[in-house]
Symmetry: C2
Subunit: 87 residues, 2 copies
């Protein structure tokens, strides 16, 4: 039963992390960070790290997997914003 729930979790993890990667790739390629807001990125990054902690406390492999990857993606966006921001 629990492994059946985790399969659903991993489908969710695949879909939401995969949908996020093109944004990271586009920002990396174009160096266009004008549409990104640092306070929002910082809030999102902190939120994803908090979900990761929640996943660890709940012993949820799919939450840990998804939020590890999204933590990395969100960190890259924060880094790009800091590096390429002209204003």
């Amino acid at each position: 039963m629990d492994s059946y729930i985790e399969i659903i979790g991993f489908i969710a993890a695949f879909l939401t992390t995969a949908a996020f990667l093109p944004q990271v790739y586009k920002t990396w390629k174009t160096k266009d960070v004008s549409g990104l807001s640092m306070p929002m990125l910082a809030m999102f990054f902190t939120g994803v790290v908090t979900w990761l902690i929640y996943g660890i406390l709940k012993n949820s492999p799919s939450l840990i997997f998804a939020n590890s990857i999204t933590t990395l993606s969100a960190f890259l966006l924060v880094y790009f914003k800091a590096k390429y921001n002209k204003k």
Copy 2:
């Protein structure tokens, strides 16, 4: 112990859903959907609905709360993309 974990979950839920709302507001105001990709939005929407199912199966109030709001946000973006897309 479990309620302490849920407090962490709700902090995460607040941060990630709040970080997402400005995108919905901006898209609604500007009607500019050129930077949004329908396949990615559809993938994200499906993923968030799957997380919602996962949260229900895991009896996780914070996952259910976060993904209910994000399902609505993602649905609005899909709707705006379909409505305002010129190409």
